[in-house]
Structure formats: C-alpha cells, structure tokens
Symmetry: C2
C-alpha cells in the first residue's frame, strides 16, 4: 500500500524524500485554488515563477502576467491570485505566468519530486481520484505563510487523507494531526476563515470573499500537473 | 497583553524572534517529562548536552550520566530518559547530565531566548502559573521527532494555551491548531498513545508504560529553568 504524509511548510520539505513521490502543492488562500479555477475556465498553461523579475521577463503580449505579494496584486501587473481574476472571460485560451508569496515558492521547493500536482478544495475529488489511480507515495505539501504552518492548507491536507486513508498508509504524526483538524472543521469549513491569520490579512485587504470562494468543493474537474516547469491539466481518470 | 505562539519543530525556530521571549521546551515522550519528574524527586541540577561525547566528558563519579537515542538507553550509560529512572531513590541530591534524541537538541536551538523553561503535563499548572506571572511573550517549542511535527508535544502546547488564552494574544495559526487538537484530546489524553508514531516506537521498545506516565497532569509543582547551561528549579510563584 502506498504511503501518504503531510509536510506543514516548505521549510520542512528537506526532511522528506520526495524523489519517487507525488507532491501535491496546497495553497488554499489562494494560489492553488486560483490555478485550479483558471484551468477549469480554459487557461492553456500556467507557468509558476519565484520572483517578480522572472515574471516581468515574459512578454506581456503572449502571456497574462500575474504577481501577488503579501496578499495584494503587485503594481503594474495584469492581476494577482484572486480566483475572481481567473474567470473564463479573462483566462480562456491564455497562457499565464504567476508569482505568489507562498504557492509558487512551494512549487519550486518541490522540484526534486517524481511528480508535482496542484490541489485545492475546488478540485478535491478529481485530485483524490488521480492520486488513487496513480498509486505512488504522496506528500501533501502545505505552502503555509512565509514558511510557517497555516490552518487552511492543513485542513485541506486532512480532507485529502479523509478520502484516501483506506488505500494509503498514514506515514507520520502530521498526517494524523491534519486528519484530526479536518474532522473538526469539515461540517463548518467557513469557520477556518475566522481562525486563519491569513484570512485576517485578506479581510484587511477587502478580499475575504476570495476565501469563501476557495472553500467551495469540487467545482473543478481537473488536476494541474507540472511538466518541464509548466502547469497543464490532466482530466481525472475517473471522471474523464 | 503578551503573545503566545507555538513552534512545531526546532527546524522552524529560526522563523521566530525569541530574543525577548520565554521559550518553553516540550518533549512529552519523554525528556521534558523526565526532567520535571527528576526535579520533583530532588535532583539538584540537570545539564542538557547535545552529543553523547559531551555527556561522556563529565565525571561519572560526580554526575549521573543519561543518554538516549532513538528511544533506547545508549550502551554504557546509567540511564536514558524514562521517567522511571528519575525516582527519588535514583536522583535525589544528584546532578545529572542528559542527552536525548530530540529534547536536548531543542534546548540547544533555543539558546538565543530571554529565558528557557521546561514544560510537560506533569508540571502543566505550575508552568502556566509561572508564565502568567512572568508576563513576557511565550514561544512553546515542540521538540518533535527528528525535526518533524509530533502529536503529543502539540497537544501539550494546546493544553498550555487553553489555560492562558484569556491573558495572552494567540500569535499564529499553529497556536490555533494546537488548541484545536488539545480540545479534541483533552478528555481522552491516552488516545494520543495510539495516534503518535513515537508511541509506536516506544511500544516496540517495550516502554509504553512510560507514555502513560508522561500523560499524568500536575504531579510536579516546579518549573525547570535554564541558567548558564544548567537546569535548576523555581517554585511556581502561585504555589510557592
């Protein structure tokens, strides 16, 4: 039986051997949610980059350039990582270059993994179907906030485990803790918004509706997957 | 109002500014529990050291030498970190040098803190009284397991927060998560033993009775405190 474990922040990923494993990138508020939503709405490619400079180096005629830092759109960019920027009108048929405070950093840290995919509540079931069918060991990598633990990414990791624990061995205490926290919140997911320090930051920026959006389950049917530095999508093997 | 936060592993402590703060070292199974129990039973000093070589460098006539690695007593040493080795018959009036897999490493990592004290379920109320009276900001540092998150240290951190949150600001999501997990387990603390990967390791070593011992609450009235590399005790200001 394959194993599943949770890494609470990219700062701890060096303690995990990811070479033969699938790493799921989780940045619920908001990068991984917006990436899933963008593909659902017809984006062709999303290229995650670490720095604002790398993002700027792409041609704005060929790519939508998206940059977020500390929750806000960086000045001079098309948009940041609000899911409301990833509607069909804006992203259908487009290629996007994206840099965010935590999510794209987490993707970069996972570079040594056998496979990198993107998870969010928006594509929870499609992701779990994909992981189940894939059958390799899984590390659920929470992007956290500036390398610190956060509650929303952890609760989502627990949601994945709640769907998969009959078919995967739980590897460590962080998987147990994430599952426990999901069980505590599953009937009232929006309670996370009051608890999460990142939600409070979003409230200050007037974007708390983004948080509610990101807690919707299964409105996306696709699993973004990384190939040669570019995210594209695979249809869930069960749903396809 | 002072703040309280939880750092889930020593590997993340560099993300916290500890210079003006009290750091509470938490290694429930078993170092911080055994340290508290040792002082309750009359130990004069406990000197935590990182390596087995440092431990060996002390004179065995003047000090009890205690070394644990991966849950077992290191060959050639008086004892490791089972609380049953820290009874009055064994430690009263003694000075002890101690090295463990996780606990003494955590103490070393916290070296820059304003104050370092030791917490466990055994001295929970005395610790909380002391922190409340002290009034400085607090970081609850979970020793974890080889720099990974563990469930028992986290639940204890939550227990401290449950006693202090009216008088301290909760700083981050890890404090919220720890409090949530404590609330989940507080009426059935022994359930941690089934969940914790470290408990499973202890079971394999035939020392699961140690885990049950370490989940007793308030059998110790003292707070071990670090001064110049040496742990001694202060009586709780409330209980003294």
């Amino acid at each position: 039986m394959p194993s599943i474990d949770v890494c609470f922040t990219p700062a701890l990923l060096h303690l995990y051997d990811v070479r033969a494993k699938v790493v799921v990138i989780i940045d619920i508020f908001r990068a991984s949610s917006s990436i899933c939503y963008g593909f659902e709405n017809g984006a062709l490619e999303i290229i995650p980059v670490s720095t604002i400079e790398q993002c700027e180096s792409f041609n704005g005629n060929d790519y939508l350039l998206a940059a977020e830092r500390d929750g806000a759109v960086v000045e001079g960019f098309h948009f940041g990582n609000s899911p409301y920027s990833y509607t069909a009108e804006k992203v259908s048929g487009q290629k996007i270059v994206l840099t965010t405070t935590n999510g794209t950093y987490a993707i970069e840290q996972a570079a040594g993994a056998a496979e990198i995919v993107i998870g969010s509540f928006l594509n929870l079931s499609a992701l779990c179907d994909w992981l189940l069918n894939d059958g390799r060991d899984v590390i659920l990598l929470c992007a956290g906030w500036k390398n610190l633990f956060n509650i929303e990414d952890t609760v989502f990791a627990g949601a994945v485990i709640s769907k998969l624990f009959h078919s995967f061995n739980l590897d460590g205490d962080s998987a147990v803790g994430a599952l426990d926290l999901f069980r505590l919140y599953e009937l009232k997911l929006e309670a996370i918004i009051e608890k999460s320090s990142h939600s409070r930051r979003m409230k200050q920026l007037g974007i708390e509706k983004d948080a509610l959006f990101c807690l919707q389950t299964d409105i996306c049917k696709q699993v973004p997957i990384m190939k040669n530095g570019i995210l594209t999508v695979v249809l869930s093997t069960i749903n396809s």
